[in-house]
Point group: C2
Chain length 303, copies 2
């Protein structure tokens, strides 16, 4: 099953790449200025595990949802993810130099272009979901926009990034956050978009309310596990392995559960959350094995 | 009619302020971090003519469209407008210090907060349109998201800002733009969102195809006129009158038609475009007087 999982992950990543390329290739009148389009493509194409789109696609597939629709929604959530990476990497934010093995967007281009390209990638995400040319019915399009906006905005990803900067002590002397406060920060910063991916898949698969709740529980546990695994990797892996800077969280005073607890206790929590994710899927049979493998992969990944 | 127009403009601005306040007051779980919410409110509340929402509301009213819906859509387009102002003012972009009579967002807060608040304001715009709690039917919600995204993205506002930065010669030595190239840049940078406001009103008013085209012609002419008037004001008005920096376009090498042509020829073009906007409305009776007044106001305004 592990082999099957990695094959499926790579396969969906390849399909998502194709959808993104097609989205960037759409001719518009007036055309997108070449420098801006080039920066948007640089940020979005050719990298990443595409885990968020994978969760959309595999959740939808579990429920028999339309795959073309799921791929399009997956591309939209990936556009939001890459916009957030481009902006988080800016000098005024985390000031990072390496992302997905390449120079960050503002180094490859410049700061102004990186800001604008991030802005335009976010816009493109919502345009992709709302576009009438898709097979989506209008109610589903509006619902997907609502879910993605809620997960990306002030009460989700952007809000989590704000709390993250505050926890660094940038704006005033802050007391060290408690573990529940760090967990809440991370549920917003990375968990909201990951569980949104599962929710989008559930919407596309027209899940009824109990199934929706089940999948939401799975998505939330997986999202929390993802961040702990990421923080352990930040300590244990090399920059070359990850394709981004490592070991910077501690230096910056970033609030992480690993920092508060140490690696051993964080690993135990990671195991517990993975168990929660698997338990949420207990009502499904073998058809949910791919989502089970995704939960294990999230905990065990080495990059 | 002029008195009536200014009264109506102020009245819609007041209603939009109320809608925006209500949107920011919505309780979320988790809550938006106070610093981020405060920055978003700072950027969005208590300022501006609210011309874009006014165009949504008055176009919808002309066609008998639902006013609560138009106000909500107007608030969404204003959120996109204020996000773009916050990002355009950043040090890496136009590096401005004054906006709507107040210190710009990154000076009142800091750069990271201004980037994040701008990002979250854009997200909130799309959430506002997609939110199922509105009276909008789903097809209309999806169509409004699509229109706004198209006008705000790489082929619209963000693309125009990219061309604007290029025209300053930031990235390489650029030849001075021709008048048609400047007009195209400005049609993207400011025209797209202004004509989108009219289109959103037309969608809310369920305009048939010929009426839609008529209103689109009006919106495009008004949008082009707006930018020329803005550029003339940048030369002729004082910073205190405008509540933002003036006289900076020429210093920066910003591409404007006024810079290419001089004020006199630019005024003639402004008159011509205003005539086009009025001509587009020729098929309407007195019920369109408020939109006619908006076109004259756009050309004649002193701030």
């Amino acid at each position: 099953m592990t082999v099957d999982f990695h094959h499926r992950l790579a396969s969906v990543a390849s399909e998502i790449e194709d959808v993104l390329v097609a989205i960037f290739d759409v001719a518009t009148d007036p055309p997108v200025p070449p420098r801006l389009l080039s920066a948007m493509r640089y940020a979005a194409l050719g990298g990443g595990k595409r885990l968020r789109p994978f969760l959309v696609v595999e959740t939808a597939r579990l429920l028999g949802g339309d795959q073309a629709t799921a791929l399009r929604a997956g591309a939209a959530i990936e556009l939001v993810h890459v916009y957030s990476l481009a902006h988080d990497d800016l000098p005024a934010m985390d000031d990072d130099e390496l992302r997905r093995g390449k120079p960050t967007l503002h180094l490859a281009y410049d700061e102004a272009t990186a800001i604008l390209a991030g802005d335009a990638l976010q816009t493109l995400a919502f345009e992709t979901l709302a576009d009438g040319a898709t097979s989506l019915d209008a109610a589903m399009r509006a619902e997907l926009v609502r879910l993605l906006a809620r997960a990306a905005g002030g009460a989700g990803m952007a809000g989590g990034q704000m709390l993250d900067l505050e926890a660094e002590g940038r704006f005033e002397q802050t007391a060290e956050l408690s573990a529940p406060a760090v967990a809440k920060l991370q549920a917003m910063k990375t968990g909201a978009i990951l569980s949104c991916a599962v929710e989008m898949g559930a919407v596309i698969g027209r899940a009824d309310a109990p199934v929706y709740q089940t999948l939401l529980s799975y998505g939330r546990a997986l999202g929390a596990a993802f961040q702990i695994a990421d923080d352990i990797l930040d300590i244990e892996a090399s920059s070359a392995e990850l394709g981004k800077a490592t070991g910077k969280d501690a230096g910056r005073g970033k609030a992480t559960l690993v920092g508060l607890w140490g690696v051993e206790k964080a690993r135990a929590e990671l195991e517990r959350l993975t168990g929660d994710a698997l338990a949420a899927l207990a009502g499904f049979g073998a058809e949910a094995d791919i989502l089970r493998a995704a939960a294990r992969f999230t905990a065990d990944r080495r990059k």
